[in-house]
């Protein structure tokens, strides 16, 4: 449905997007993941035709963007990162304007406006001026505007940013529903959101695709970071060495207070061995948990660059999210 081939955007001194290619089949929900400034918005803007690419091709629904930009624009419903509405228009007026501009036939215009207002949960503010809406409502009005012409393809740039937790849940429900009958590209910072909404994830960093696959694939491709956390009541000496000697253990961190973290190689399950070891030595096992590598780990590992400061900001963002 969406074909992106060798797409690049070069600014004077740097490549915002460098040679990015991917294909999104019909009906797929693709998550676009990456730190700030990675090129997510730039790529999305190039697909919508808002930003002319330096090189490369985009085809949406089989239409070449360079050849027939208006047909591509008609096929896409786009929600930009900063949803801008006309402050002096009422929500209803705005949606009617969007419908007219998107070419919705006049006869079904009213019904269509009501339909998207219902779907995006903004029916209660239809008479309100766009300028007086809260961020959450503005986001939903923008989304309603993007849906008004029933596009085959939805491109949503951080659709849940700036919403309160309750609104996020509602918007996610809507996005899951939309994913059933639309081809969707959505960008986000929020990792659980991607796992929940997307069948496929593209991680982009510094203008390049660094990972492409289902969330499960990305996680399993990243072996060696599974951990077993244990808390033991035991004499302090020799415990770390004994744990480290277990087959499959790659390393042990002593966190103090009888707490240890055992890094596991190859996705093996060490819990049984740890239990038997504790029984053999007469240690009391107070706690044991196994943690699998999360998408967060994948994301951090792939997008963390050498500069410590940058890596830290990346981690903070994920934590914030």
């Amino acid at each position: 449905m969406i074909e992106v081939e060798a797409l690049s955007k070069r600014y004077v001194d740097k490549d915002a997007v460098a040679n990015v290619s991917f294909f999104v089949p019909e009906g797929e929900v693709l998550g676009f993941l990456g730190p700030n400034g990675a090129g997510k918005t730039t790529t999305m803007r190039m697909i919508t035709g808002y930003l002319p690419p330096t090189a490369g091709e985009v085809r949406v629904a089989g239409i070449d963007l360079a050849r027939d930009p208006l047909a591509v624009r008609a096929a896409i419903g786009y929600l930009p990162e900063n949803v801008a509405l006309y402050p002096e228009m009422r929500v209803e007026e705005y949606l009617r304007f969007r419908a007219a501009v998107e070419g919705v036939p006049r006869g079904i215009l009213k019904a269509r406006v009501d339909e998207v207002a219902e779907r995006c949960m903004i029916a209660d503010v239809q008479r309100q001026l766009c300028g007086t809406l809260s961020k959450g409502y503005r986001q939903r009005v923008g989304l309603a505007g993007a849906l008004i012409h029933r596009p085959k393809v939805l491109i949503l740039d951080e659709p849940t940013i700036g919403l309160d937790p309750r609104q996020i849940v509602k918007i996610r429900e809507l996005l899951i529903e939309l994913g059933r009958d639309h081809t969707v590209i959505l960008s986000t910072h929020i990792l659980p959101e991607v796992e929940q909404l997307c069948r496929r994830v593209l991680i982009i960093d510094a203008g390049k695709i660094v990972a492409d696959g289902t969330p499960e694939q990305l996680r399993s491709g990243l072996t060696g970071t599974a951990e077993v956390k244990v808390q033991l009541e035991a004499p302090s000496d020799g415990v770390a060495a004994a744990l480290g000697a277990l087959a499959g253990a790659a390393g042990v961190h002593d966190d103090g207070g009888g707490r240890y973290r055992i890094t596991v190689e190859g996705g093996a399950d060490l819990r049984r061995e740890v239990f038997r070891l504790a029984v053999d030595r007469g240690w009391v096992l107070l706690e044991m948990t196994q943690t699998m590598p999360s998408l967060e780990d994948v994301f951090l590992r792939l997008t963390t660059r050498d500069i410590a400061g940058e890596a830290e900001t990346g981690a903070e963002e994920v934590a914030d999210a």
Binding site: Y50, R73, A84
Partner: protein, 243 residues
Amino acid sequence: MRKTLALVRRELVAYFSSPLAYVVLTAFLFFNGYVFWLIMSYLNDPRTQAMAPLKLFFGGTIFFWLFMLFIVPVITMRLLAEERRSGTLEVLLTSPVSEGQVVFGKFLAAFLFLWVPTVVYVLILASYTSIDPYPVLSGYLGIALLGVLFSAVGILTSALAKNQIVAAVFAFALMIVLFSLGLVEQLVTTPWLKGALGYMNLWEHMDDFSRGLVDTRRIVYQLSLAALSLFLATKALEASKGR
């Protein structure tokens, strides 16, 4: 066509839902009332020679130009610059409307907003006295042409500037240049240059039109300059995408 009309409608709604429309229209009425009173007093003075009042009203005085040169940039400055600043341009230019349609829609809205209300004067005048319809018609043709030209120049600067005020100042400067070509005409002595500048003399254009003189050369000049401005505005809008 329907999409262009939707754009025009939105612009007109925007004009009338901000104080701008009311401020401009009030100033316009007040100012024209004042000028009308001045002209009437002037004509009633026994020392004055007989003249057609509408000729004086449309372009015969500096007042007409003063107002025109100030008000057009104010009306056109926000059209594209504001959409770019607020980000609504991104939604508009990812909708299936061409850049040309956007420019033309906005141009049409500015033109209608500025020039439709002036028809009121003819209607008022016609209800009190018999008017000579042809000079009035040609006077309105002159005003309309000037409106087309100035609105187009205003759209062009709004397409180029990121900031409304910059757009307004730039439009004002461009209009002054266009307007002053007629004054430069009187300074130069080279015959071909004098001829060329005379062709571009907007003051004289208005003067001719208000006397009932419809000269196709003037129409061609103003319309082609307006078309050029709109074309450049479209190109500027295309080039500014994503910035």
